[in-house]
Structure formats: structure tokens, C-alpha cells
Amino acid sequence: MKYVDEFRDPRLIKQASEEIRRLTDPSRHYRIMEVCGGHTHAIYRFALADLLPPNIELVHGPGCPVCVLPMGRIDEGLSLVEQERAILATFGDVMRVPGRHGSPLEHQARGADIRMVYSPLDALRLAQDHPDREVVFFAIGFETTAPSTALTLRRARELGVSNFSVFSNHVTIVPAIRAILDSPDMRLDGFIGPGHVSTVIGARPYAFIARDYGKPVVISGFEPLDLLQSIVMILRQLGAGRAVVENQYGRAVPWDGSLPALRALADVFELRPYFEWRGLGFISQSALKLRPEYAPWDAEARFAVAGVQITDPKAAQCGEVLKGVLKPHQCKLFGRECTPEQPVGALMVSSEGACAAYFNYVHRRTAAASV
């Protein structure tokens, strides 16, 4: 596959890995956070830790939109199915996330009309195909995905599709990064910046990380060579005592982001005053809701949504894992009460969740090795 295979070249990977070794100071312990859940997944899928020296620690950040979704939002979405006889459409990522009375998949097994879609446009099409039913699209994602929801809403409005609405759980990345930086538990040396979010927002929004907090940021692609090259770039900055924003993913990320995408966001969405993030608590200006002009397509405006705040079980340490304070296996429930089969929190369900990634790709190997 073009633009994929070249960035998995074994010879270049070996070279990059050696360069990383060359650049690391053996007396120093480096803590680099990859913000984006897709990077977490890539790191595990490609076993990149095997290619790094032991004194580079990759800390998993909160950029997994399913992981940070509080359980209450799942329940609210599910309640609309019953309440409004609605069809709930959502991505595969959401299907296994536990709600108070089961995941969407379990609700579907009990007869709830929940459909998995691959694009918000699929949900709109469902509404057009079923004019007698309400179709609610349970939207998740950071700025990568929000423009697609925005364009879909524009289309719904243009076409006058009145039985379609969006339950928006879109969140923005910068406030989450700021919350991490301001957290007293945090000691990070640099950031691997989210590659696909940046195709929309560009590189400028991260400037404050380098300028105000003195941490290097390198926006990275998702192939092994992208991540390794980004780590090289971070190490070079650290070695030189510099802190700037760099764009390693230049082949796909424009410095200024995507004007059409930003315009679509501005047309359709506005920032909520605050939104609850699992693990990070309430963060102001961190999530998107539909603007008043789009109220007829806003599930929260059209339907009475209970607004229940349901927290994770006390013993679950999702928040600390999300912030990178704890590694997945350090959570008291990991591998015992909380496994991919019986997940307590979304981090164990989402393919980007640090806990699921660790459990599926690493845990059994280290557990078996210690037997």
C-alpha cells in the first residue's frame, strides 16, 4: 500500500532506532506523551517499544474520544432509542462501551434498534430511508471527525431531512493537553502531537506548549517510521535545549490546517461552556455542541435528555491511566475485574484505549513470561 509500506521499511526502521539510541543520554529518563489514541494503538500494534531504549518511556495521553466519554453520555444516547422509538446510529468504536445497563451491543441484543455506521453520512441516509422513524447519530471524535459531522448536518439542513439529529460528544484536543500540562502529577519531557487532528487544526494551536511550558511538540504520522522519526526530532530538541512545534507529518498536515474543515466547524458547532471528561473532570470550552441555527438537528435540543452524571466504579482508575499517571497494569482492576470481556471502563474496550492495547498486545506476553 502506497504511503503506508514505505513507512514500514525494516532497514529504515533499524536506522531510526539506532539514531534514537545514539541520541539518548543513558543517565536520563525520558517521558514522552503521545496525545492521540491512534498513536497509542500504533505504538502497541507495531511493538515500537521493542525498538526504543529502556530509558524512553512513552506515556499514553487522553486523546481517545471513546475513553474520555463519561458513562452517562452512553446511557443518555441509549435512552433516546426507547424514549423516541429512535434508531441510534454510531461507529463500531462505541458499540462495546459499557453503560449502566449494558453496552450498545448488549442493548441491540435485547432488541434495541442500534445500527453501526461507517460515516455520519450513513446515518443521514438511514434517516432518508426511514422517514417514519427518528434517527439519532451518536457522534464522537476530536477535531478530526467533527468536520464530517458538521458537513453532514449542513447537508441535512439543505435537504430538509427533519427526522435526523446528532447527539454530539465531539471534544477538542487542546484543553485536554492543557489539563495534562497543568496537572501536578505530570512530569513530561515532550509531546508526540496528534497527526490527524492536525490536518484540521494545523500546527499553530500547539504553540503554547513550547512557548509557555517549554516542551517540544512534534506532530506525527501513524506509521512506525513516522513515530520513530518524531521521537528523533523530540530528542534532538531536548538535546539542544530547545522547545518548538515541528511537523513530522508534512505529507498530510498543512501548517494552517484545513480552512474548509474549520469553516464547517464554525458554521455548525460552538463550544460548550464546560464538558465532563472521564478522568480529567469538568473542562471548560472543551467540547462541541450544535449552534442554535441547527437546533432542529440537535438531539439535546429536540429531545428531553436526562443529563445524568454517572461515574465509574470507585475502584476504577481510568482517570489516572488517561492522564498517564498510571500504566494500565497498575490499575487495581486491570486483568481481574476489568478485562476486554468484562470491561469496567471504556479504556478497556476502545481499540485506542491504553488498557485494551496493553492487555491485547503486551500483557499476556509479560504475564506468560513471568510464569
Partner: protein, 349 residues
């Protein structure tokens, strides 16, 4: 697949039965081990799972197996539920080292199903049975109310005569053994996914449904004494079958990622959907574990079978880490390949 259980077993504690319990992954295994086996086969609790059950009658060893076929849509590129129903049971017998002799076929039809559809599937089954050189000797038909059966459910039960040369068991697997597959993986699962029409993906792909008996026969002819274990990987993919073997024999299955044959189309669809080909269903492949010294001869014998041109040695058995399947990338990165809980779900994140 017929069922026995691997120790230790915990009681099945889920409140309800969900789709995941039928997907062939961890949830399925928990249901079988924790509820069904203790209830029906208490004496067998602790025995490893196998594709067929064995019964000895005098000098003859017989293999018995049963399987149900549920697929939507009923027809897809490369075949239909009728093909799966015949080939699936034939393949379980073949993987169990048996020559398939006869099938019984039980059909549940949803009221309102056009006769043409039932007719087409009966014809498909007849044709598949002819190709597989197996006889359908009886069966049963039931009709259920509209809305209850996705059109058609078929269960086939098969009987075969175990080849006396076959000495297959997880216990015979050794470090140094090689893992061989008969062809590209993931064709069936992706074909069916695309056939559902829920996603706007198009590819020139067909289900790989076919009898794998010729492959099993070739292996028994060529390397019987060194043939440790076979399985036809279906739902849950190569990953699930190898994980089951790893758990049953206590050893490690180490895959060479580059060597696992995957068609470009399957790879493309998996990348787009965020799926792993190792977890995608197959319906016409065999995995064989063969002693290291005989692996090349075994591979050649498979490649001589029509349809076996892409057969490949894809990995080896190692002593550690125990009960684990690993995949090693071309550049050396090694990841664990686990069984999924339920069906693989496409992702956008």
C-alpha cells in the same frame, strides 16, 4: 467444531446470551466451557477442544461433528449458506484426520421465504456435496414464524472414518514445529461484510468456501507421522484457532507476519475499517502444524493440490511465552495476537 473443554473452567456468569457468545472468540469459549460442557459432558471437563468427537467401533475409529450455519446475506460472491453448510462440516471432519462419508442436514426456514431461495440452497448443497465427495443421507426441516430466522438456518452433522495414519492432538505439538496455512486468509469474512451492503466498499473478492479434504489427504499421504494437528479456521480467524492450540498445548505460536498470505483486497478493506486479517473468518483453509524437518515437504505437497498455490509456512512453535500467540513484523517488532471477545468491529478511531 465439536466441544470439549480446557481446564481450568469457571462457571458462566453472564446475565444474558449476546452475539459475542456465538462469534467463536473468548466469549464463545467461556459459554462452552463454563455452561455447556459442565451440563452435558461433565466427565470431559478439562479435556481440550477439538473439531470432531471420536468414537471407536471395533477396528474403526469414527469422527462425528456438527455445525450450524447462520449468515447474512444468504448469497455472496463465491458461494452461499448451502456451500458453507456442506464445506464447513466436511472441513471439520478433514481437520480431524477423517475421510468424510456422510452428512445429515437440518434446515430451519422462515415462513414467507420464497421457494426459489430454498431451492437454490438445496441445489448449492447438493453441488457442494458432490464436489466434496460426500453424501447427504438425511435430515429434517422446520418452518418458523416470519422474523425468526434471517431466511434460513442450516445445521449439518457429519460422520467420517479416521485415517489410521492420523495421530493428531495438541499434546503432540513440539517446539520447533512449523505452522502452515493452505492459502490467503480473510477472504470469506470480508466478502460477507461487503455483501451486506452497509458500507460503500467494493472489491473483487470471493468467499474461499471449499472442501479442504484434499489438503488434509495430501498431508497425511506425505508426512502423516510428522503431522501434529490440523484445524480449519472459521469465525475468529487464524488468531482464534492458533490461540486455542496455544492454550491446549501450553506452547507459543510465533507468526512471521510477512509470510502470512493476505490478498491485497483483504488488506485494503482491513486497513480502511481498522480490522486485523488474523481475526477475519475463513471457510476454505486449513492450518497444519508439522514437525520442523518435514515442513518443506508438507508445503510442497499442499502446493501440488489445485487451489493450494499460495500455501505457506507462516510460523513456528516455541516453548515460550506459554499459551500465547505472537506476531513478528519484518523489522522485528513483536506483538501478542489474542482472541477477540466477540466479532471484530470496524473502528474509526
Amino acid at each position: 467444531m465439536t466441544l470439549l473443554a480446557a481446564a481450568p473452567t469457571t462457571r458462566f456468569a453472564d446475565r444474558q446470551i449476546d452475539m459475542a457468545h456465538g462469534a467463536g472468540g473468548k466469549a464463545s469459549r467461556r459459554l462452552v466451557e463454563g455452561l455447556i460442557v459442565p451440563a452435558l459432558m461433565a466427565a470431559s471437563v478439562g479435556d481440550p477442544l477439538s473439531d470432531a468427537a471420536y468414537v471407536t467401533l471395533g477396528d474403526t475409529r469414527l469422527a462425528f461433528t456438527t455445525d450450524s450455519f447462520v449468515v447474512r446475506p444468504l448469497r455472496f460472491a463465491g458461494g452461499s449458506i448451502g456451500d458453507l453448510a456442506v464445506n464447513g462440516t466436511v472441513n471439520d471432519l478433514a481437520a480431524g484426520g477423517a475421510v468424510p462419508i456422510a452428512l445429515l442436514c437440518s434446515v430451519i426456514v422462515e415462513a414467507g421465504t420464497p421457494t426459489d431461495i430454498l431451492n437454490a440452497e438445496m441445489e448449492a448443497m447438493g453441488a457442494a456435496a458432490d464436489r466434496a465427495r460426500v453424501r447427504i443421507v438425511g435430515g429434517d426441516t422446520k418452518v418458523v414464524e416470519h422474523g425468526k430466522a434471517d431466511g434460513l438456518y442450516i445445521t449439518t452433522s457429519g460422520i467420517g472414518r479416521v485415517d489410521p495414519r492420523a495421530a493428531l492432538s495438541p499434546a503432540s505439538v513440539r517446539p520447533g514445529d512449523r505452522i502452515i496455512v493452505t492459502g490467503p486468509i480473510g477472504d470469506h469474512g470480508i466478502t460477507v461484510l461487503l455483501a451486506r451492503g452497509d458500507i460503500d466498499l467494493a472489491a473483487d473478492l470471493r468467499s474461499d468456501t471449499r472442501s479442504v479434504y484434499p489438503f488434509a489427504a495430501a498431508l497425511l499421504d506425505e508426512v502423516a507421522a510428522d503431522l501434529r494437528w490440523m484445524r480449519d479456521p472459521t469465525r475468529g480467524g487464524l488468531a482464534t484457532s492458533l490461540n486455542e492450540l496455544a492454550r491446549d498445548c501450553g506452547l507459543s505460536m510465533v507468526l512471521d507476519e510477512e509470510r502470512v498470505p493476505v490478498r491485497d483486497e483483504v488488506r485494503g478493506a482491513c486497513e480502511l475499517l481498522g480490522l486485523d486479517p488474523l481475526h477475519i473468518a475463513n471457510e476454505g483453509q486449513l492450518i497444519a502444524v508439522v514437525a520442523g524437518g518435514s515442513a518443506d515437504r508438507a508445503l510442497e505437497s499442499l502446493r501440488r493440490v489445485p487451489g493450494g498455490e499460495s500455501a505457506a509456512i507462516v510460523g513456528r512453535v516455541e516453548a515460550a511465552p506459554a499459551r500465547t500467540v505472537l506476531a513478528v513484523a519484518a523489522y522485528g517488532g513483536t506483538r501478542v495476537v489474542d482472541m477477540l471477545v466477540g466479532d471484530p468491529l470496524p473502528r474509526i478511531c
